[in-house]
Symmetry: C2
Subunit: 298 residues, 2 copies
């Protein structure tokens, strides 16, 4: 294992991504450095009221502590309570334009330590796309880039991580996928550290390729109050997923993480209304019938 | 035990409360009846875009099933997995006027059943007030009414349930109380069924007395975009509490409850912004310094 090189990679990735996004937006991301009394800290790069992004953040964090919460690992509950070290880059971006999709990407590395035992380590990560108005071309481009990022790791890698993403980013209480999916992996430690690290790097390195062209294509589409309203309504689902189901969010809140950095994932303006459904056949309805269906896009 | 009489009480309470609130608002609450494939169902009374209430609901539900989730009882985790019966009235109301506080009230009855064992039952409930702009008179009136409702059950009852409320309606990840508190009780089965039922009834019966005068006093206060904006920001805390910490919400979502009825508690328009704090000494700041402090109001 080479923990310092993971940290170095993550910090460089954060910088590259922020630079790429600043080129699209034209506004600079604010930098907040923070420390955590229990150990570790992070750097949050935040944008609000940008030209393209209404709200978003690209966060690096490196925390350690005693008492790994159960949310850290679904696969090995026996590790709960161990001391741990966790580092990662996590981003969510909410464009203002309702035709431009919300994006999430995360790469992370964990170590669970116990005196007298070998350290247990694993990588995790992925990215998924959440459109308000769907475009087949965008979903295909996004999934093709995800597939490209995993191609060096075997033909079965993308289908496996695509399925994992569909299962993870699913709102059980709505029986609804969060968006058009992408890839997701967790508890990843086979066949060896170097291969797992390479895969994680490849996912991180493909983020801008996956998202930037979609953003360029949609960010200036003209829209009216109707689309903004639907966007605000659908953003409610994003809040519900992140606060009720997302293990990453729960891990952060349970380990005394920095609340403002964790909740950067929440959209700037959100609406809830009772038992609302789009008119059958409308553009809004097409999101449900043609995109939120766990489809194989490539 | 007399389960039918609990149900009868709850349905009557829902009717009385809706009637009282309709008198204030002038608009009728919509009625939705729903069934649950696993057993039971409910009646949701919902208001949106009312004259006073921007969004709110007064829900009755009566559900049963196998596999009591852990969220149902903090005190007796050994009951998880039993078959169960649960019924209650639960309400949240979000007035449009930022000077009028959001209110929550709930009364509930649980039975956990196991073949060959005596049924285990308990009551739970409470009410708590969440102002955006605080008024000492409102907090005192609200707590005094809570105290009145518990007076027949002993001098130590109100202080105990007031403290329980402060502890329960607390956002750990913000280190912040949800509002000015009220009363809360759970796993309540001493000294006997009749006394517990009486206490629960007394809490339910005091709801309109506790909330209506505050609402009448504040609902027509003039306000500007500034107060609406602060209200939308603070409503974010309500969402965070309900989706991350509230056992009632988790119980509903985990038992396949009706999502639209459960999430009636979420406000109509909500804003999140990064690391925002009110200006020191402002009216908005006073909420934090003078009201969100777990104070003894009576």
């Amino acid at each position: 294992m080479n923990t310092p090189s993971v940290k170095e990679y993550l910090i460089d990735l954060q910088n590259r991504i922020v630079q790429g996004l600043e080129e699209v937006d034209g506004k600079t991301f604010r930098l907040d450095q923070w420390g955590r009394p229990e150990g570790g800290g992070g750097m949050s790069r935040v944008i609000e009221a940008g030209n393209v992004f209404e709200r978003g953040g690209v966060n690096f964090s490196h925390v350690y502590g005693s008492g790994l919460p159960a949310s850290a690992t679904a696969a090995r509950p026996e590790l709960a309570g161990r001391s741990f070290e966790a580092m990662g880059v996590s981003l969510v971006l909410h464009p203002r334009n309702p035709y431009a999709p919300t994006i999430h990407m995360n790469v992370r590395f964990f170590e669970a330590l116990k005196e007298g035992a070998d350290p247990v380590w694993w990588f995790g990560g992925g990215m998924d796309l959440t459109p308000y108005y769907g475009y087949e071309a965008d979903a295909i481009h996004f999934h093709q880039t995800c597939k490209d990022s995993l191609q060096p790791f075997g033909d079965d890698c993308y289908p496996r991580l695509k399925k994992w993403c569909d299962e993870y980013f699913y709102l059980k209480h709505r029986k609804e996928p969060r968006g058009v999916g992408g890839i997701f992996f967790d508890d990843w430690n086979q066949p060896d550290f170097d291969t797992c690290f390479s895969l994680t790097k490849s996912v991180g390195d493909h983020f801008l390729t996956a998202y930037q062209p979609i953003l360029e294509l949609r960010k200036d589409t003209s829209y009216s109050e109707r689309e903004r309203d639907f966007q605000a309504y659908r953003r409610g689902r994003y809040v519900e997923f992140n606060l009720v189901w997302d293990r990453g969010t729960l891990f952060g809140l349970q380990t005394g993480g920095r609340t403002e950095s964790i909740l950067m994932s929440l959209p700037p303006i959100v609406k809830w209304r009772y038992d609302w459904k789009p008119e059958a056949g409308s553009e809004e309805d097409k999101l449900y019938t043609d995109f939120l269906i766990g489809k194989d896009w490539v």
